[in-house]
Subunit: 283 residues, 2 copies
């Protein structure tokens, strides 16, 4: 099953439009689980078990796995095995390279690690994005990132518009909605609103909820599509590291549930305001 | 020892300004070496032994390692162990992520895998580059990439200049020469020449020689700095896969030597034309 149908089904079955990042940060993992790669796997397995009723996608960021050096890919593989089959996995890798190399990255993410979708950086060009969104694959292209310095290059005006809009415009023209969406930081609702106008039928993965400071309701209000879908807010540390003591599973479950409920409440409020139906992410 | 002094020393001791990419492409490795991750390590060990007299840097691209899935990081670690200690390693990873995550990537590349330098993508912003070029680390920021689609976004005009010039301008203003250089495709000599004017004291890693079609002499002529240095042309497949039969080591050695000699001849020709001294890469 390709990404969008799988995401839609997971969203329906769990009544959730939220994604949780699964990032092993050694210094934040409860000490009671031990140290090293095995502790990371133990920790993430429990986080998945605690949160999987409340999310419609998981997003492991490869950076935090690569820090484990030789054990990196084992930690990733073992973590992925703990995720229920019907929940799609977005490998947050932000890769971008010349076509021959991009094809190798895409093969690594989608074939070796069985990603359902992957994040991709646009700077190298459209030919660098292509391997991530052809043949049934799905790419989430960086448009507006969630960091404070996002505007350094993304805001540069080109042809009367900021660069991040041109990225979206060109990707929309080149790649179909079933294989390409965008990363739009939840920390930048004004920019999200402008991008929604340019890409009415695209999924927006919206990281930055929680520790990075974004309010999920504001992000959803800015980016919801006409049918009341198209948004996938994502939180990482505020869920996975909600508590660092022995109670961490219960804390993560509560944080995931609160995140889901806040997202659903925001959608319902907008729907009640007359913004159309409340179908899930199936835009 | 930090990257630039190490590169300068290796360049002097081998009378070479060229870099070779070390990318295991399973379908191109001679069948006599077997298949799978172990064949990749065997192959790359022999390639390093055959070429290490002729290069001043090696550049493994992580994409080709990641395709080995769980074995990826072992293949990379074992390959890195075969590289002589005095030859610097550029990990070609083109990472770029929000600051907290960028710090994890930088730690993976420089601490877990002991890179001397790493390639970095600029789109996310200056705060995403910072962790790769602080504390003695060295970042090669993508400016002009070597692929056919490089211009899709890099050529967009912003403030009267193409985006790739703005990237170089801002990085030069923010990061010192001893910790930040640029990736400038050897396939785009005109662009390289414009960038040299903006970044007279920076190292340019110039991939795209060989299989991607760039002529090393033309690239060097376009990008050499005033002191006759500052360029690091790079070839990958045309050296490592120069022959695919049992003679592959001799073919790789010959290709690396020819690459080095062509680069040196181009520099000498320019020096003879009165372009200043012929000191190596110590710009």
């Amino acid at each position: 099953m390709t990404f969008i149908p799988k995401l839609t089904a997971a969203s329906r079955s769990r009544d959730s439009i939220v994604c949780v990042g699964l990032d092993p940060e050694a210094e934040l993992i409860p000490e009671s689980l031990g140290r090293g790669p095995q502790a990371a796997v133990r920790f993430l397995r429990r986080i998945v078990r605690a949160t999987s009723d409340y999310v419609c996608a998981y997003k492991p960021n490869l950076a935090f796995y690569e820090r484990y050096g030789s054990a990196a890919m084992d930690v990733l593989t073992l973590t992925l095995q703990t995720i229920p089959d019907d929940i799609p996995v977005i490998l947050d890798a932000k890769r971008g390279d010349v076509p021959n190399t991009a094809a190798a990255y895409a093969s690594a993410l989608f074939d070796s690690f069985r990603a359902d979708a992957a994040t991709v950086a646009p700077y190298v060009g459209l030919d660098s994005i292509e391997p991530f969104c052809s043949g049934g694959r799905y790419a989430l292209v960086l448009a507006r990132t969630s960091n404070p310095g996002a505007g350094d290059f993304q805001d540069l005006e080109t042809g009367g518009r900021p660069l991040y809009e041109r990225v979206v415009e060109r990707c929309v023209a080149r790649f179909p909605a079933e294989s390409c969406g965008f990363v739009v930081g939840a920390t930048y609702p004004d920019e999200a609103k402008r991008l929604r106008a340019l890409a009415p039928d695209r999924l927006f993965l919206m990281p930055g909820v929680g520790t990075q400071g974004a309010d999920v309701a504001i992000a959803i209000r800015a980016a919801l599509d006409e049918r009341g879908g198209g948004v996938l807010p994502s939180a990482s540390r505020s869920v996975t590291y909600a508590a660092r003591d022995s109670d961490f599973e219960r804390a993560a479950a509560q944080a995931a549930k609160a995140f889901r409920d806040a997202a659903n409440a925001a959608r319902e409020q907008i729907a009640a305001g007359g913004m159309g139906g409340r179908s899930p992410l199936d835009s």
